[in-house]
């Protein structure tokens, strides 16, 4: 700005007194910015227009009213406490007028027919096909999620099918699937839908498979055990600290789930993702394997899965194959009878009899080549091979 008394080639350019001063401008801009951040947007946008009349909204099966419109969700160990208009961590449970509702009912966003080996379940009706469905949502926020597009969002933000439990069971039968798998996202977050579909499927003679992070409350799990036939469960690591940092959960409830399924006789296979510098410590893996043997026995398959950079955990290289082999050796030394390597070509191709090492099932990738089992036993030494075969 040309100062008073100074002459330049633009002498008419004077400060316009009618304009806003710089001080006022800065004050206004700062106030507006602060106001924008301080404004209670959450409260203003809390009412998202969900209504119990919506066919995709259903009252949650497990919750507790705490008074004053506040409720505590009972589906998973997060036990989210919500005020009217608020959602839980999973984004699928909404407090509407002091009652807790799920908004993930009969609105799957992904439906496919997969080989059961892809879940992965290698000791559960090998070679069969699973009608796989998912509703958006998850109660974890794993940094390496391979389905982040549907797990880290909610059903009101995805393109969904309208698929009632009856229609889901009918579709599974139509596509010749003997199993329905609740998978891809976190099935616990669409618990009500899963339980209803599974109940109908069971009545129709169709099996149910729960693919999950095992982070579920004991009452919900009890109910689920009445309708499911098998579970493919992630034991992401054997460290509470890493569970909190990478996944947003804790270890103890997960272990409790494994114990409960074992007690209830539900078939399960355990998946452990080996992530470089996080879950590749052999001592921790040894402790995990010892726990499995001690609490669940040696006969449940353990799948070590090779890590590849995904979602937000993209600055780490894939797990070296030798680390995978080392983890397998640790598990076998601990006494586990069936140890597989996922995401490693050939890593699941053979199931051997733990007694005589005779190959009892041969696969090529996700394809079943041959099963030599006789009544679920090794054809050579007649040792029982654990699993659900017929």
């Amino acid at each position: 700005m040309t100062r008073p008394g100074e002459k330049g080639p633009f002498p008419d350019m004077k400060h316009d007194k009618t304009t806003v001063s710089r001080r006022d401008f800065i004050k206004t801009a700062l106030s507006t910015t602060c106001g924008t951040f301080l404004f209670p947007w959450k409260a203003a946008w809390a009412d998202e227009g969900f209504t119990p009349a919506d066919p995709h909204v259903k009252e949650a099966y497990f919750y507790q009213a705490l008074g004053g419109g506040t409720v505590r969700c009972g589906t998973c160990p997060h036990a989210c406490v919500t005020q009217p208009g608020e959602r839980g961590l999973c984004r699928t449970k909404v407090n509407i007028g002091g009652r807790l509702y799920t908004i993930s009912y009969a609105n799957p966003c992904s439906i496919n027919v997969d080989p059961i080996e892809k879940k992965p379940l290698l000791h559960f009706h090998p070679g069969s096909r699973a009608f796989s469905l998912a509703v958006a949502g998850c109660n974890f926020h794993c940094l390496n999620c391979q389905n982040w597009e549907i797990s880290q969002t909610s059903p009101d933000r995805t393109r969904n099918y309208d698929l009632s439990p009856e229609a889901a069971v009918a579709a599974a039968a139509r596509y010749g699937c003997g199993t329905i798998a609740y998978t891809y996202s976190e099935a616990t977050t669409f618990f009500e839908y899963m339980v209803d579909v599974a109940g109908r499927a069971k009545a129709e003679g169709i099996r149910n498979v729960w693919v999950s992070n095992a982070y579920i409350s004991p009452p919900a799990l009890d109910r689920l055990c009445t309708v499911i036939d098998a579970a493919s469960l992630n034991l992401k690591c054997f460290s509470d600290d890493i569970y909190r940092r990478l996944n947003g959960g804790t270890l103890a409830p997960v272990l409790r789930t494994f114990e409960t399924l074992h007690e209830r006789g539900v078939w399960m296979e355990i998946i452990n993702l080996v992530i470089p510098t996080y879950t590749d410590d052999m001592e921790t893996i040894a402790r995990m394997c010892d726990w499995i043997v001690d609490h669940l026995g040696p006969a449940y398959p353990l799948h070590f899965s090779r890590f590849f950079p995904k979602y937000k955990l993209t600055r780490l290289p894939p797990t070296p194959l030798e680390t995978m082999e080392a983890a397998k050796a640790v598990a076998l030394r601990a006494g586990l009878q069936y140890v597989y390597l996922g995401n490693v070509p050939g890593g699941c191709d053979l199931t051997r009899c733990p007694q005589c090492q005779t190959p009892v099932i041969e696969r090529q990738g996700y394809r079943l080549l041959k099963t030599h089992l006789k009544d679920g036993k090794c054809p050579s030494c007649r040792t029982l091979i654990n699993g659900r075969w017929t």
Binding site: G8, P9, T19, L143, E149, P276
Partner: protein, 707 residues
């Protein structure tokens, strides 16, 4: 002090500052790319903040100019400029240690941590510019400062781009630049005492190299660094974890031994053409794609790789030498397609997703047409894009749709195989889904593709669902002048990292407010600020246009940027000798910039539509360099004229003009790179220049102005 001494100090200061600040800026940009996902959005925001803080430093420096002897301040300034870049590198490399290991970070973290890291350097360097002007006197002081600073910038740009980047790692380059600044510091003052801090700083710098390797390892936890190499295109690192070899480009994992993704890259398209095909492969070959391709016994493979350092990786990766039938070419893939006289049965593009405007050129309707021109009848084009195995979310879907739409304009038959990566194939004849049968008939086995992935990829239900999704909505096709795919990928990154869009808008708002404030309600400063915007917008736009029409040629890019800076210097020098009134020069420059924006739009439209070699050559070699030069000369001329047109103390004028110019340039960098190009394309940028310079022209031409 004698005039000769002051003159010498003036030049020593500004040349050392110009050389080092440009080099440090380029080094830090590359380090930032390695720490924050190699993302253009972060790079744009951080570079914008860099310019803004430097402008702020200039404005603050002007205030301090009268209070102390400039030589004393400049002495300490050079010491800071010499030493702080090492701290910057250490901080930028250490940042990942403060969050979850291996996790990509979003915009807020990058913006705050990056800005705070650079703040001391930018404020100091910015403040030194007007302070150096205190060595001079006279009305043309700001203009001389501008010329000296820009010459320093030119030398710095050339030094880094043509010498340092090839010969030295970043740390060593910083040591050389530190030595330069320590000499400059010593030249600022007299007396033996001045040597004490200079020598101390020199000792610290000399003892620092061990920190380089240690700090580098922070980026690669649990791995042994086998090779770390800077190339003009980024930083290449090879690490070893156990027996596994990992290749990183800008610290992003690119390849590891036992990766098998190349099976899909090679076999899916090669199953679409007969054995013995002639194939063009753009990028990715050394990571195993060539080995897989060889299974189909192609007659010839032309393999084009931009970075020769990638080609050289075959040795550390333990790959066999390229077979005879493979001919490797170093250069830009698109340029190769334009220039080749050969025809191919198959063109495979194995590049990363269109995560910047440069890469976007390989996913546009114009590129697809160029490829079609080199394909034999019924030939096939293949490439891949980010996909999703079970559900495609909205930003990824928009990206895929914009490319699908562009592809549909060039080819009759499209096949997109679903999966975590979508494999696009296009031809003018029908394409087969039965890849497994073709592989079996040729006796080709794979480790992963057939047994694990192919069933889901070729599942009719999944293919049809994806096709319906991609074709289900009419969208703007991705094009050279309007790189929508790049914009969608930025959206996807924001979503993935949970970066609130509001942060981006807040950055836009802050940068615009800063630019407006830098004008101080004065029309001359407004003209300079808007010219700063226009200059940066022109530079980015014309370089992108050059890449689109010609191709990515590193030396050509360097030359264009150098030409821009030479234009600025000559414009500033010319202004001092030009006899037209200062008002005419200021308004004339505005008018020229408006005209150039319109002319650039016309050239852009003509260039992408024309297939005439003569027209394209004229645009590439004559018109674009001329436009860059004239735009720079106009802004340089205007800066010089404005500096003489402003009344008041020269140093203050220098600081304020620099403040306005750099604030405008920051706006140009951020808004052009992150808003206009991804959402409205090149034409949107040019319209913004016309509007801004039109406003400036109107205001400087108000009644009552007398030259």
């Amino acid at each position: 002090m004698s005039p000769m001494t002051t003159n010498r100090r003036f030049w020593a200061c500004l040349l050392a500052l110009g050389i080092s600040s440009v080099s440090v800026q380029l080094i830090m940009a590359r380090e930032i790319m390695s720490t924050f996902s190699g993302n253009e959005l972060i790079l744009g925001v951080v570079l914008g903040a860099w310019l803004l803080f430097t402008g702020l430093g200039s404005a603050l420096g002007a205030r301090r100019a009268g209070s102390r002897r400039p030589d004393a301040l400049l002495f300490w300034g050079h010491l800071v400029v010499a030493v702080w870049p090492f701290c910057q590198i250490l901080i930028v490399r250490a940042l990942p240690l403060f969050w979850v290991r291996g996790e990509i970070q979003g915009l807020p973290v990058a913006l705050v941590s990056g800005s705070l890291t650079f703040l001391p350097y930018c404020l100091t360097a910015g403040a030194m510019i007007p302070l150096a002007g205190a060595f001079l006197s006279g009305k043309d002081t700001p203009s001389r400062v501008y010329v000296a600073d820009t010459i320093g910038d030119i030398l710095g740009g050339l030094l880094f781009s043509l010498i340092l980047v090839y010969l030295f790692p970043h740390w060593t380059s910083l040591i050389l630049l530190a030595v330069l600044n320590l000499f400059a510091a010593a030249a600022m003052q007299r007396g033996p005492l001045r040597f004490i801090p200079v020598v101390l700083c020199g000792l610290v710098v000399a003892a620092s190299p061990s920190l380089d390797t240690r700090s580098l390892s922070w980026r690669f936890p649990g791995q042994e660094i086998v090779l770390h190499k800077g190339t003009p295109f980024g930083q290449l690192t090879i690490t070893r974890s156990g027996r596994q070899i990992n290749v990183f480009q800008d610290a992003i994992p690119t390849f590891s031994t036992h990766d098998l993704h190349m099976e899909a890259t090679a076999h899916l398209p090669l199953c679409q053409v007969p054995q013995g095909a002639r194939v063009l492969l753009i990028a990715g070959g050394v990571f195993g794609t060539l080995d897989e391709m060889a299974k189909h016994a192609p007659e010839r493979i032309d393999y084009v790789e931009l970075d020769p350092a990638i080609l050289a990786l075959s040795v550390p990766l333990g790959r066999a030498p390229l077979p005879e039938r493979v001919r490797s070419h170093v250069g830009d893939g698109r340029l190769f397609v334009k220039q080749t006289s050969a025809t191919y049965d198959l063109v495979i593009v194995d590049l990363p997703d269109p995560e910047n405007a440069q890469l976007n050129r390989f996913y546009t309707k114009e590129f697809f047409r160029e490829v079609k021109a080199v394909l034999s009848p019924g030939g096939v084009l293949a490439f891949s894009l980010v996909g999703a195995e079970n559900y495609m979310e909205e930003t990824g879907l928009a990206l895929n749709r914009s490319v699908f739409s562009a592809l549909r304009q060039a080819f009759d038959h499209l096949l997109v195989l679903p999966g975590p990566t979508h494999h696009f194939m296009a031809s003018d004849r029908p394409l087969t889904r039965d890849v497994e049968e073709v592989l079996a008939s040729r006796g080709i086995t794979t480790q992963r593709l057939v047994d694990y992935d192919l069933a889901a990829m070729t599942d009719p239900w999944r293919i049809d669902k994806l096709s319906e999704l991609l074709a289900g909505k009419e969208v703007f096709p991705n094009s050279d002048l309007s790189p929508r795919a790049f914009g969608h990928l930025l959206d996807m990154w924001l979503k993935k990292t949970w970066s609130p869009r509001g942060i981006l808008y807040l950055v836009f708002l802050l940068i615009i407010v800063s630019a407006v404030l830098s004008t101080r309600g004065n029309r001359i400063y407004l003209a300079i600020m808007t010219s700063g915007y226009a200059a940066m917008a022109f530079e980015l736009t014309l370089i992108l246009l050059f890449q689109v029409l010609y191709g990515y040629a590193y030396l050509a890019m360097c030359m264009l940027i150098t030409l821009f800076m030479i234009g600025s210097v000559l414009g500033a020098l010319g202004s001092r000798r030009w006899e037209r009134s200062l008002r005419d020069q200021i308004r004339g420059a505005d008018l020229v910039l408006v005209f150039l924006a319109v002319a650039t739009a016309a050239v852009a439209v003509l260039g992408v539509r024309s297939l005439e070699p003569a027209v394209l050559s004229a645009i590439q070699y004559l018109i674009i360099p001329l436009l860059i030069f004239v735009a720079a000369a106009a802004t340089g001329c205007q800066f010089s004229a404005a500096s003489r047109a402003c009344g008041g103390e020269e140093i203050r004028i220098t600081g304020r003009l620099y403040g306005a110019d750099l604030a405008g340039a920051a706006c140009g960098t951020i808004l052009t790179g992150l808003f206009f190009i991804p959402s409205m394309g090149i034409i949107g940028v040019l319209v913004s220049i016309v509007v801004l310079k039109g406003i400036s022209l109107l205001l400087t031409g108000k009644a009552g102005l007398v030259g």
